[in-house]
């Protein structure tokens, strides 16, 4: 039987989106996929399809027009997913900070797992960040497999049952008690 969990770690597929960067980081991502740095030895394939990808590489400070598309792409990716912010400007805004059409950094809109600094990022750092992202991906996969347990009673207000905040992952309940 085809075992998805096993192969996800061996072959993470990446989705790349340019949210207003200067192209510098984008061509470094291409260069790290090319023979000298060869990101493909980790099984990485560059896809254009958010529904098949595990790692989301975002470059650039988020411009006003690209933020909807950024969130949309993030929402379309299946769990577990890892977001990697590539470049100084996607981490903090960089030189573009406080320009009128720019939101400073990706983490204003989507949660970021790995930050890679540098203007422009060197391919070594991209490989380093992606390998770290792989570990996080594995952790997230394990986290998803843990069963949920109800730790308090659901409340009932005006005839509507509210189960909000009643479920926690098994490990977290032990911490709580």
């Amino acid at each position: 039987m085809f075992n998805l969990k096993k192969y996800r770690k061996k072959s993470p597929w990446i989705l790349h989106y340019n949210a207003g960067s200067c192209n510098g980081c984008d061509i470094e991502i291409l260069a790290s996929l090319a023979p000298k740095y060869d990101l493909e030895r980790f099984g990485v394939v560059n896809t254009g399809n958010p529904k098949q990808s595990d790692i989301f590489l975002v470059t650039g400070p988020v411009t006003l027009r690209s933020r909807e598309r950024l969130v949309e792409l993030y929402m379309q990716m299946p769990e577990p997913k890892v977001v990697v912010a590539v470049g100084s400007c996607s981490c903090t805004g960089g030189v573009f900070r406080d320009m009128y059409n720019v939101e400073d950094g990706v983490d204003r809109y989507i949660p970021v797992d790995v930050y890679i600094p540098g203007c422009a990022v060197s391919p070594e750092l991209i490989i380093d960040g992606l390998v770290q992202g792989l570990e996080i991906l594995e952790q997230k996969t394990k986290e998803m497999e843990k069963p949920l347990k109800l730790f308090k009673e659901s409340t009932c207000e005006e005839g509507i049952v509210n189960r909000r905040d009643t479920a926690l992952k098994v490990g977290k309940i032990d911490e709580k008690n």
């Binding site: 200067c22 984008d26 023979p35 027009r65 690209s66 598309r69 573009f96 422009a120």
Partner: protein
Amino acid sequence: MSKKTINIPLGSQHISLLEPVRFKFECENEKIITVDSDVGFVHRGIERACTTKFKFDAIGYVVARVCGLCAITHSLSYTAAIEKLLGGEITAKSKYLRILLLELDRIHSHMLCLSHTCENAGFEAMFMRIMGDRELVMEIQELLTGNRIQFDYISIGGVNRDISSEISKKIIANLYEVKQRALGYMDEFTNNWSLSLKFKGIGALSLDDAYMLNAIGPLARASGLNIDVRNEIEYLPFDEVGFKMQTHRDGDINARNLVRLNEIINSIEMCNNILEGLPEGAIFTKLKGKPKGEAVIRFEAPRGELMYYVKGNGTAMLERVRIKTPTFSCIPAFSHIFVGENYADAPAILASFDPCLSCTAK
């Protein structure tokens, strides 16, 4: 045959695109009838920030972030404009070093475009080969300037790093290697049968159309139009280092590829000439004063003519910085070429223009 048309969008996020741009193709069966393009996704507001946020001596490094591929041309154009306003003369050695880096940047940008065109045509192996050989150029850029992409090499009054004899030896050795590879690609692009199916006679632009639609850069030179800013300006001594105009007649994707390959070989010759006869002297002269007045500077970026207009009023803050980028001027020609082609060829045609949208939107 029905007359019904279908709308197919390409972008803003697509596997064949490095940057967000949206094309709306209206297709009748396989043929594209009309094209609508939207290029403003990466607008950041750099022109405004240049007049409000940064002082004039820092802007050279800010405008380099307009585009990562032609970063050196942007900072060079801005610096040349400021030097014109301040009225100083820079040393001969720094002029030659500027041309050296400009041509190295052109080589790596053209190689990226060639590999990307091959990838979008479906020839993945050629993409890998050219990207692998491109690392030879990136290596010497890193040696010369300290960084692979955003160099920050040019400052007002000269350049920031000197060149040593070991570095120039390494540059000559690597460029010799690149030249052999480029001649190999030339053979591949002219004689490979499966590449010819994807490239020859596809996306053609005639000479008249190129003239009428104001095409510039390799796009115009592939159609036979003799325009190259390197031929027309006098700030940098391009004619001394052996610049030759490269043109082709066909105007299709294949012609654009061959023009780019010929330019790579010409640029390598220019780099070798510079390194052979590099004059001795300082690399930096201190220029005093604040910019006052107006200056217009043009340079040849890898994609065509780049124009800077700078207006200063005698204070540290500038009054206006206007950037006119090559891709912006070429958009009418792009839209014209798409009409009448098959939709399946659209990504390869788009890559052969070598569009730079972060330049266009600034």
